[in-house]
Every structure is written in structure tokens, then in C-alpha cells.
């Protein structure tokens, strides 16, 4: 019976018509949602899945840190499996694909990647025409995407951004980006179009100006927007939509939504006692009590690392250089001191009382720096908590331990506040 249910689910998930059918229903349902940006996110995702399954345009799998502007410039449909794994976890469906993947992949690997591998093995994902990934930031992703390409029997193109950000590094990156773009065009039989690339950069720049506004508005006390949402669909759109018109619409709506709340003097908590900064690009997406515990104690997550705007405004007339600047200015590449500087900036900018570093099991790049960041912040007297956990695997979540750690941290914050 359960197998029949899975087969039926797969049948619907793999058909573009399912999303066409779902769209008006969901649009109607979402009318009750006061946040228009959230509606945009849901419809964006739906549209993306529809296009990816319809396959009338080439589908490109891409890693979260690859600049999506290049994919939109190719006129292809981007599909970001890592984001999709977060959505699957959000619906509390990740146990099965993770279990499927565990037969072949070590349980010490990132659960987002394992979840995607399980989904791919079971035929839930739209087959790609090409896989493009960036080795920036995450080692696991680098290899994971090459495994996906192997599984689907399609080519894999890699962008390998340099560690350093000097002149030679920039030249090296520029030549690689061009190569990836033209090679992708060749493989997909698409005529490379410089105009479309400039357009993608223009849209990205437009979205960026709204992101800047959003981040400025989020400095307000009390915090107008919940960090839990900043870590879910806002971060999702940051990875997925830049370079597309939907990205602009989303950030415009988000900016208006937050602006309204600021004008009304509304914080997302009824009373805000502590202001927290969340470090890491992700949070646990399956049902869990982390943000509820924080809210009970009136601790607001006022900002989160993935939404920090690190890249300069792009110049559509110089698209390649703009993209190179964007990639090279990412503070999660290069030495950890770059990331620490940004963390310190965010602490000041958002008037933060304490910092939580979520250490996702399987994420070496992030958890590897957690100790050093903590050491720096503690020396400055900023309460800091390393919260070990898992973003996509609910079986790796320990409610008791998580509560104990969070409560101890909040007590520490109370003590600091008492002076």
C-alpha cells in the first residue's frame, strides 16, 4: 500500500501538469498569507518544478554557490537540488530518501546531499541535461554534483574559484566563467547571448538593491522579520533567483512587507528581550523546536549569515567582471578572518546580544571554523553558542540536548544583561 502511495506521488511529482493544476489552488490558498514575498516564493518554486519537469528548455542542476545569473543567461531552467532537499525536509519527507542513499553513501556526509541522492535514485527529480557546480566553499558539493552527473549520464562542468582574491586569481576565475558559459552553450546547443547575460546582471542588480533595503530595514528594533524565515525561503531565493525577474519581484515584495511592519512598529515577537545572530547558511528544516524555544524566552533571531550582502552592485555592461567580483567577494571563501570580519560587522549593525553558530553534521567548512569564531567573539565578551545539529536529517536531531544548550545560552544572555 505504501509503495503504491510512493508510486502515485512520483507519478504526480514528475508531471509538469501537476504544477499547472496546483498553481491556481495554491494561489487561492496563499491569498490569506499577509506576506506577499512568501507567495512569490511558493509560486516561484512551483514554476521552477513545472519547467524542470516539462523540459521544454534545458535543465541545469547547479550547486548553491554557483552564480545563477549564468544559468538564466543561458535561457535554461536552473534546478538547485540542495534547496529542494531543504523543501523536502520542511515537509518532513527526508527520512526515506536519506535511508535510500545510506545504502551507498556514508552517514557522515551532508544529509542534504544524501537526501538528494535518495530522491534521484527513486526518480523523484527532473533529469538534468547538464550539471554545473562551483567548488566554492563546500568540498562535499563538489564531489556530490559530479556523482549526480555520473548517475544521470550527463556532462559536469566545474567552476573552481580560487582561494585568494588577487589579480591572478581574478584572471583565472574570469577565464573559467567564460569557459563554463561557452561550453554549456555548446553542450546544450544554445547560442551564447551576451545581451541575455547583461540582462541577467541587470535583474540581479535590481534584486540586490531591494536586498540592501531589506537588510537595512532589518536593523530596526524590535526585529521586524523572523530569522527562521530568513533562513528558509529568503535564503532559498538568494541562492535560486538572482538573475531572474522573479527574484526582483520577490525582493521588492519582501522589502515592502518589512517596511510596512517597521512603519507599524511591529516586531515579529510580541516582546523582544535578546537579539541574536544566526551563523551558517542553513537551519534544521524538518519540524523542530529550536525557534519556538528561542521565542518562548523572547530571543529574536534578527539576522542570519546567508542574507548578508557581500557583493558589490553589478555593472551589466561588464557582466563577467561583475560576476567575478561577486564570486571573489564571498566571505566564506578565503581565510576565516574574512568571515570573522563580516560576523563582527553584523553584530554591530544589527545590535546583536549573542550569536548562535549552527554546526550542521557533515559540513566541514562551516563547523571547522566555529571554534575560532567563538574564541574571537568570547574575547570580545559576546555570548556564543555552537549548536550541533543536522539541517535535513530529523533522526540526527536531539530535542533534549538542543533545549539544554539553548536554555543554558539564554541564561548566559540574561546574566550578561543583568550586568
Amino acid at each position: 500500500m505504501r509503495d503504491l502511495g510512493i508510486r502515485l506521488l512520483r507519478f504526480f511529482i514528475r508531471r509538469a501538469e501537476s504544477y499547472t493544476l496546483l498553481k491556481p489552488l495554491l494561489s487561492l490558498y496563499l491569498l490569506r498569507e499577509g506576506n506577499e514575498a512568501f507567495r512569490h516564493w511558493v509560486l516561484f518554486l512551483l514554476g521552477n518544478l513545472r519547467e524542470a519537469h516539462r523540459h521544454s528548455k534545458p535543465v541545469i542542476y547547479s550547486s548553491a554557490f554557483f552564480p545563477t545569473e549564468l544559468i538564466y543567461a543561458l535561457g535554461a531552467v536552473p534546478f538547485l537540488p540542495e534547496i529542494f532537499a531543504a523543501v523536502v525536509a520542511y515537509f518532513d519527507w527526508s527520512r526515506r530518501p536519506i535511508a535510500v542513499a545510506t545504502g551507498e553513501l556514508s552517514s557522515d556526509l551532508c544529509s542534504f546531499h544524501r537526501s538528494v541522492m535518495g530522491l534521484a535514485r527513486e526518480g523523484f527529480l527532473p533529469p538534468p541535461d547538464l550539471v554545473i557546480s562551483s567548488s566554492q566553499i563546500c568540498d562535499g558539493a563538489n564531489k556530490f554534483f559530479s556523482c549526480l552527473a555520473h548517475l544521470y549520464g550527463v556532462p559536469h562542468l566545474l567552476l573552481d574559484p580560487p582561494y585568494h582574491a588577487g589579480k591572478t586569481a581574478r584572471m583565472h576565475l574570469l577565464s573559467q566563467m567564460r569557459e563554463v558559459f561557452y561550453e554549456a552553450s555548446r553542450l546544450l546547443g544554445i547560442r551564447p547571448d551576451g545581451g541575455r547575460l547583461s540582462q541577467a546582471l541587470r535583474l540581479s542588480g535590481e534584486a540586490r538593491s531591494f536586498i540592501e533595503r531589506v537588510n537595512e530595514l532589518r536593523r530596526t528594533v524590535p526585529a521586524p522579520f523572523p530569522g527562521s524565515e530568513g533562513l528558509s525561503y529568503v535564503a532559498g531565493m538568494n541562492f535560486y533567483s538572482l538573475g531572474s525577474p522573479e527574484g526582483v519581484r520577490f525582493y521588492r515584495a519582501l522589502s515592502s512587507h518589512i517596511e510596512r511592519r517597521v512603519k507599524e512598529g511591529k516586531g515579529y515577537l510580541l516582546q523582544e528581550r535578546y537579539r541574536l545572530l544566526w551563523l551558517h547558511h542553513i537551519r534544521p528544516y524538518y519540524p523542530n523546536g529550536i525557534f519556538r524555544i528561542l521565542e518562548e524566552k523572547r530571543a529574536a533571531v534578527v539576522f542570519e549569515e546567508p542574507n548578508h550582502l557581500f557583493w558589490p552592485p553589478p555593472d551589466p555592461e561588464r557582466p563577467w567582471e561583475s560576476l567575478a567580483d561577486k564570486v571573489l567577494s564571498n566571505p566564506w571563501t578565503g581565510p576565516l578572518s574574512r568571515r570573522i570580519r563580516i560576523v563582527e560587522e553584523m553584530i554591530e549593525k544589527y545590535r546583536v546580544d549573542g550569536v548562535i553558530h549552527f554546526s550542521h553534521w557533515g559540513c566541514r567548512q562551516s563547523s571547522g571554523g566555529a571554534g575560532v569564531i567563538g574564541d574571537v567573539l568570547k574575547k570580545k565578551g559576546i555570548p556564543y553558542l555552537i549548536l550541533p545539529g543536522d539541517g535535513a536529517d530529523p533522526d540526527n536531531y536531539s530535542p533534549g540536548q538542543t533545549r539544554t544548550r539553548l536554555e543554558a545560552f539564554l541564561e548566559m544572555l540574561a546574566e550578561v544583561q543583568r550586568g
Binding site: 551507498e104 553513501l105 557522515d108 546531499h113 556523482c147 583565472h172 576565516l336 566541514r364 566555529a370
Partner: protein, 350 residues
Amino acid sequence: MYTIEFFLREVVLLRGMKGHRVGWCCTYLPVEIIEAGGLLPQRLVPEGGGPKDDALLDPNFCPYIRRVAGALMEGKESPDGLVLMNTCDGMRRLFDAITHYLPSLPVFLLDVPRKRDEAALLYFYEGLKELIAWLQETFSVKIREEDLREAIKGANTTRKILRKLWSKRGIKASNLFAAIRRGFSLPREEFNRLLKERLRRPPEHLEGRPILMTGSLLEATSLIRYVEEMGGEVIALDLCTGGRMVEEVPQEENLLLSLARAYLRKPPCARMAPSTERLELLEGLIERERPEGLIYYASKFCDPYLFEAPLVRDLCGKRGIPFLLIEGEYTGQVTGGMKTRVQAFLELGR
């Protein structure tokens, strides 16, 4: 095995060295550059397990990298400087931890591209130039072209003897591996002298079931020896200290470029792209060496190898070769669990 005489000779030799000791971890580093500065390159392969292993880095981290961090903190490894490579997330974070917690230890991080085309080669070459500048400034040495030429010559001799030893099948893999491991901390001439001595010895009798070993194993001697004791014979070593070594550095006009090319384009490890190259390499080894089994060793938390393992398993499946995946810590010991699995594996298909 380390003999007492050998140990004493090593201590005397190292004490007699005037140059600074420069620690290193990854075989993508052209150690000839360090040698050309009159410095002694020493690969950090600390004995497994120490009290400070978890002090700097998260427990879900490569055990080798945690051990290196621990050994440096405990003072069990005390190089005068350190050259790390940006080869994986772990190494990158080791660099961050060392620069933060041991600020007095000079550390250089050399970026290694994953690709191996001309653009990547030039980028790597520029990195080597920066390494030279850093070594010269940090240790007040001069690295001249003739020094580099001499260092390359010495290292090529090592590689030539190792190739000869291995290709003639005159040495058991465990003994070869132990010899290479010793060489990590010896001055070049001494290492070459020992290898030449080894070459003069009568060839060893190799008779076990031929096994191909691959993966991210750094401290392999005990596992290889155990395979041999259980009736296996490791006939091909696709490890960074075995078959993935540089073959030879040609003495071209631009020596540094020659070094960059030889090192970047040596048989790739799992972090390099495209992944297909490694599968082709392994397929070639299987074709040539005709092993009766493949042992794939992946260090715990080593993402590139853990992701690659299923691909290699598929390859072995297609070729009808038994495959054994061992995921292990960096202890230098063969645990009970490993022993059972190796035994069962070697008994398979008898």
C-alpha cells in the same frame, strides 16, 4: 619497522641539520622548492591519537587533520614553519586554526586548483612563486635556479629508485610504504642512500592474492602489512604516498613551471576534477595489474573519497572484482573490525 639503529641515526641526522624544518601535509606540494632553500621538508605524520586532537577542530573532521592540529598544539610536532595546501575544507580550516591558535608559527597556504588545464597550471605556478617569496622572507634564505635544479635532481633520483623498486616487484608494499614514510623526515641524500641500499637487497618473495589499494590512507603500513599477513599481496597502491606520486620532473628551461606541471598533473586524488579521470586511472590499473580485489580506504569524514567510493564500487562490479570499503580513523592501527572485514574479503572467492 623502525629499528633502534635507524631511529638513532635519524635523530643524529636531524640534529645535525642546520636548516629550518618546514612541515607539510599534502603531496601536491613540490617539496623541491623547500629543499632548494636549504630547508628540511618534513611531512607531518604524527603518531595517532592525542589529548588535544579535538581542541581546535570539530569532531566531525578528518582524523588526520585533527591529529596534526593536536600534535602541533601538544608540541609533538614542532616545525619551524608550515606549508599547507588548500586541497580540502579540512586543510583550509586547519590553516585558520593554526594561524589563530599558534600565531608564532609561520604558515603558508598554497592554493591548488582542482582543474589541470593551462589556466589552472598558470595559477598554480603563480602560487609557487608566492611560496618561494614567503620561504625566502620567513627563513632568510635564497632560492636560486641552480638550487632548484639540484633539488629536482635529488627528488627525481628518489622517484626513479622507488619506481624501480616497485616495478621490479622486488619489495613488499608494506616495506615500500614504510620506506617512503621514513623518507618524509629525512634529508634527500640520506633518503636516496637508504633506498639505494634497499635496491641492492635480494628481491622479496611476493605470492599472495593480488590486491589493489586506493583511497585516502596516509598511515597505511599496518593495514597493508595485515593484508599481506592474511594472504593478500598489495600489487598496486593508488595512495597519495604510493602510486599517486609525481613520476619525474623534467629539467626544462622554466624549472618552476616544470614543477608546477608535474605536480598538478600527477595521478589525481579524489578532490581533483573531473572525477572521470580517477575512474579511468583505476580502470587502467585494474586492466594492467589484474587484481583479485580492491580495498578502498576512506578516512572518516573525508568527503571526496566517501563520495567517490560508490563510483569505484560500481566500476569494480562491472569488472567483476570484489570491493571492500574501509572507513577508518587515523590511528595507524588495524582495529578488530577492520581485521574481520579484511579476512572475510580475502577469503571471498578463494
